[in-house]
């Protein structure tokens, strides 16, 4: 029995290294491919010896590096957040949207554009982040009211209800305010384009803290997966574990949504794909989700640049278009894990 454990650990570790290598390759691809073809040698040059007078170097340093970094951060955040939220709610269809994160972020951004007249992407980032945090706190509080505290079902119901309410408010503003609608729709589809390095740097600390919290809670997520009673019997403080996990989710998907807009499907699909490889052990599931999600996001972003060259299709649209058939295929081929 210890032998199979050692063998499996070796296989899963190898898989992680391979995934990391694939992710590095995808990042390079994201630096190389675009409206203007730039040779690989020039990309390397721009990376290690950037020359501000060289137009091609400028495209790399000012546009492609930031969008790749944002893709890596947002992807890792969405994948991790999805895996954590599915574990905490024990709901296989849960994604970051279930805590009202997307709806809250969207409402705050719309409010910022319409009432405060904010038009910079940096402004959207902070508004989006604040909205995500406020919405999740409200959803969690409503979900904890009444008997039994914050049960997964109550939190999911509160999230769905709150999302509907917030979305209708957002729609109400957008319908009456055409100028706001024009600005908002670019943020809303989810895109990695036009994000400067400043946005990546602002998001970085939040994502980093979220990653640390999420990876540190793998053991308690494993306990929670057995149900509240068994988890408590195993000495896990269930309420504390839930709150800590929720903090990680808010940090991760609040930041991802703020940086890149609401990107669907990544947080939902990636944990399921990862689970097929790792099984239900969160000590492996989380790292795999954290690598697979940015891989999917970067490849979708590159694909978006290729199919509409010289224009591009926003990554939020591509992930949804790729994600939906993948999800249907997974659901048909193998019963999705019921958590």
């Amino acid at each position: 029995m210890p032998d199979t454990r050692v063998r499996r650990t070796a296989a899963l570790s190898t898989g992680l290294v391979v995934s990391a290598a694939a992710l590095a390759a995808a990042a390079l691809l994201s630096l190389t491919v675009g409206a203007q073809h730039i040779p690989f040698g020039t990309v390397m040059d721009a990376l290690f010896h950037p020359n501000p007078d060289n137009g091609q170097h400028l495209i790399i340093t000012e546009s492609r590096i930031p969008r790749t970094v944002v893709g890596l951060l947002a992807g890792a955040a969405l994948g991790l957040a999805g895996a954590v939220i599915q574990a905490v709610t024990r709901n296989p269809l849960a994604d970051p949207g279930i805590l009202g994160v997307n709806a809250g972020a969207a409402l705050f951004v719309v409010f910022g554009i319409s009432v405060l007249g904010i038009s910079s992407l940096t402004g959207y980032v902070w508004l989006g982040f604040a909205g995500a945090a406020v919405a999740s706190v409200v959803v969690y509080t409503i979900g904890s009211l009444g008997r039994g505290g914050a049960t997964p079902v109550k939190v999911a119901l509160a999230g769905a209800a709150m999302s509907a309410a917030l979305t209708s408010l957002t729609t109400a503003v957008l319908l009456t305010d055409v100028a706001t609608f024009d600005q908002f729709r670019f943020w809303q589809v989810g895109s990695l384009a036009g994000r400067g390095m400043d946005i990546a740097l602002q998001g970085l600390p939040f994502v980093a803290v979220g990653i640390v919290i999420a990876l540190a809670s793998t053991r308690s997520l494993n306990a929670l997966a057995l149900g509240d009673d068994v988890a408590a019997s195993l000495g896990q403080n269930v309420a504390t574990a839930r709150v800590i996990a929720a903090i990680a989710v808010v940090l991760l998907c609040g930041t991802a949504t703020a940086m890149a807009g609401p990107i669907g499907f990544v947080g939902l699909v990636v944990p399921h794909v990862a689970r097929m490889i790792t099984g239900p052990d969160h000590r492996w599931l989380l790292p795999y989700s954290m690598l697979f999600a940015p891989l999917l996001l970067l490849l979708a972003d590159v694909l978006g640049r290729v199919i509409a060259n010289p224009g591009e299709v926003q990554v939020g649209i591509v992930t949804a278009v790729i994600g939906a058939p993948i999800f249907v295929a997974l659901a048909r081929r193998k019963r999705l894990a019921e958590l």
Binding site: P2, A216, G227
Partner: protein
């Protein structure tokens, strides 16, 4: 396995919201014995067990583990002394038997305490004690009900607590597997001196397997003690509102309840 701690209820009241289910219950669970709690549906026996296991906070009174309030003690500390297997636990999809049983080691680990040979030994011992060693690599979802229940008990055993509480561990099992599970729990009690407390529905099996029987009705203990002293015709009639004969079980000599219904009950009617 550590020597079992003492477990007592003192003036314990439990309920959900305003609804009282267990009222002012004071009793001590005998150490190192098999205790079985019986009673009609909704008499509060499962609620009492959940209260003993600190899954439900008391509305009054306290549960004392080694003389200290179980709700004041750190969760992990309690988990090293007392384990509970709730009714119908859920296994994550795709988990293997070994992985599920290994999760019983949770309270023995921490952020910085990694998996050790001790953990491997505890898991291996739990698997062999429950006869699930040959299932170790299988997925829990492909097992039969009886096998699955043995695997859950193995998980609770891997926790290596001196006290093990079980809520209806034989539900949904056919009679063969019921006896198998109960025998397994007595094995554990005899081999390791563990205190076993369980809720059971089947009176005759309860009388056979219990060292100590607690009979509950409407949230209170009607009587408790050795099955042969406790399980009389008048007690059964009072608690279950059913007439019966009590005869010695031809196999174990413990009391056996023979119900008397409106039909097919011969002259006893």
């Amino acid at each position: 396995m550590p020597a079992p701690s003492t477990l007592q209820a003192e003036g314990l009241s439990l309920g959900y919201g305003d609804r009282r289910v267990v009222t002012d219950l004071t009793l001590e669970i005998p150490r190192g014995k098999v205790t079985v709690i019986v009673g009609p549906n909704a008499c509060g026996k499962s609620t009492f067990l959940r209260g003993l296991a600190r899954l439900l906070p008391p509305s009054a009174g306290a549960v004392l583990l080694d003389g200290k309030s179980i709700h004041a003690a750190p969760s992990r500390e309690v988990a090293l002394k007392l384990g509970i297997l709730p009714q119908g636990p859920i296994a994550p999809d795709g988990i293997t038997v070994t992985d599920l049983v290994s999760r019983g080691r949770h309270p023995h680990q921490g952020m910085f305490r990694r998996w050790t040979a001790d953990d491997d030994n505890a898991v291996a011992a739990a698997l062999s004690a429950t006869g699930t060693l040959e299932l170790a690599a299988r997925g829990v979802d492909e097992l039969s009900g009886g096998q699955r229940q043995r695997v859950w008990i193995a998980m609770a055993l891997a926790q290596r607590t001196g006290i093990l509480l079980l809520d209806e561990p034989t539900t949904y099992l056919d009679v063969t597997h019921q006896v198998e599970v109960l025998d397994l729990l007595v094995d554990l009690n005899e081999a390791e001196g563990a205190t076993v407390v369980m809720v059971l529905h089947e009176l005759n099996l309860a009388a056979r397997y219990a060292d100590h029987l607690i009979v509950m009705k409407s949230g209170a203990v009607v009587t408790a003690g050795e099955p042969s002293a406790v399980l009389t015709e008048s007690v059964v009639e009072e608690v279950f509102s059913m007439r019966c004969r009590v005869v010695p079980d031809p196999v174990s000599r413990t009391p056996m309840i023979v119900p008397i219904g409106r039909h097919r009950s011969g002259d006893a009617r």
